[in-house]
């Protein structure tokens, strides 16, 4: 019964959100804005459910006395710190919440992403072999962008940065456009399947 209700809700809201694009009436835009707000509220609540699930999983790890318990304790402490700090001191520029973001979260995120430079390069070095013409084209364009997009490329030749820029702005963008058009058409087809109740894997 609930699944049927859910399918009807998906159909009705999906159809309304699609049709409202072509309509220009106050009541329609009022319902449209309300549905967008509902969407955001449900999304926020879903994120809270996700946070609680993470919290409970780590609490369970601690309760079972596993070796990873210390690390789980760190995760729980970090979650609680951000929430309690925001509740007591707010989220202003000088708050502990913002301090933890600026001095802990942001440096760690930047460092984690910078590590990818090593891993992506080493994985490419170990795994990539030029076995065909297509693979050679990939390797040449990668090298051209790698060398041409920094000061080293400019030292070798003034044309290298220009060539790298041309490659990025024209043939690469052309392929990206082809992919994006494909993604767009695929997304429309999938959205229609969801609205019409053909695609119900989320239930």
């Amino acid at each position: 019964m609930i699944r049927k209700v859910a399918t009807i809700v998906a159909f009705a809201t999906g159809l309304f959100m699609l049709v409202q694009y072509f309509l220009n009436a106050d009541i329609v835009s009022l319902i449209y804005r309300a549905l967008l707000d509902y969407y955001q509220i449900i999304f926020a609540m879903t994120m809270i459910v996700g946070g609680i699930t993470l919290f409970l999983n780590h609490a369970r790890t601690i309760a079972h006395g596993q070796r990873a318990g210390w690390y789980s304790g760190a995760t729980i402490a970090a979650i609680l710190f951000m929430i309690i700090a925001a509740l007591i001191y707010g989220t202003g520029a000088d708050s502990p919440y913002q301090w933890a973001f600026n001095n802990m979260q942001a440096p760690m995120q930047a460092t984690t992403f910078s590590l990818l430079a090593f891993f992506v390069a080493s994985a490419a070095y170990r795994g990539f072999r030029v076995r065909s013409r297509a693979a050679a084209v990939l390797a040449i364009s990668a090298l051209l962008v790698l060398i041409g997009r920094n000061a080293f490329g400019e030292m070798i030749s003034e044309y290298l940065p220009q060539a790298a820029g041309w490659l990025l702005n024209h043939p690469s963008v052309a392929a990206k456009r082809g992919i994006l058009i494909g993604i767009g058409l695929g997304s429309v087809a999938t959205a229609l399947r969801v609205i019409l109740g053909i695609e119900r894997t989320y239930l």
Partner: protein
């Protein structure tokens, strides 16, 4: 030295220590990062969504319509208990259904029509009588051929005739250029981040640069 710099240095070095191998410092930093990110996101969502769109209308101006999203939002908590999981489905369906409905015109406009228009737009400069060089014409022709051949490559139900196969092969070369350029660009952007972290360690912390 400020405590904030020392804390940032500790966590930066803890993450960098993974270059050697997995170790307790890295795992601690990893878990702290997850916890901080979750806490940060939850607070952000509460302040930017739940407070202005739900709690202020409900408790501030006693807007009873806000009970609907409250009930739908609370129904998501049913997912925490397996046997109650199905009660969260109508709210989930509202989210997915409305998202699908909104995405159809948005996707058509941003991903299909605008991309097609951008591929053809340079030709309008020629049509308007603007003087353009030979290199410009070659470049826009290459771009147009790239879009068309890549789309034909992804057209899986195409007839396997020789000309169509040849055109899709050309599409593969354009895709390889895209993948190569994207790889190079990604590595370059990650290197920029790495330089930023090294600048912080050598400059702000050690004062060497």
């Amino acid at each position: 030295m400020e405590i904030s710099t020392l804390v940032a240095v500790f966590f930066t070095m803890a993450i960098f220590s993974f270059l050697y191998r997995d170790n307790p410092f890295y795992r601690l930093a990893e878990h702290v990062l997850i916890g901080l990110s979750v806490g940060f996101t939850l607070v952000l969502l509460f302040n930017s969504v739940l407070l202005p769109k739900l709690f202020q209308p409900l408790f501030g101006s006693h807007d009873l319509w806000s009970l609907i999203p409250l009930a739908l939002g609370l129904s998501m908590f049913a997912g925490l208990k397996k046997s109650w999981g199905s009660y969260s489905k109508p709210a989930l369906a509202l989210m997915i259904g409305s998202g699908a409905g909104v995405s159809i015109p948005a996707m058509m406009e941003a991903r299909v029509l605008r991309q097609m228009a951008s591929a053809i737009e340079p030709f309008s400069r020629m049509g308007a009588g603007e003087s353009v060089g030979l290199w410009f014409i070659v470049t826009i022709l290459i771009s147009l051929i790239g879009v068309a051949t890549v789309m034909i490559y992804f057209f899986y139900t195409r007839p396997e005739t020789k000309p169509v196969t040849f055109v899709s092969q050309v599409g593969i070369y354009f895709l390889m250029v895209f993948f190569g350029a994207t790889f190079g660009y990604t590595v370059t952007s990650r290197l920029t981040l790495l330089i930023g972290r090294l600048e912080f360690l050598l400059g702000d912390f050690l004062g060497l640069i």
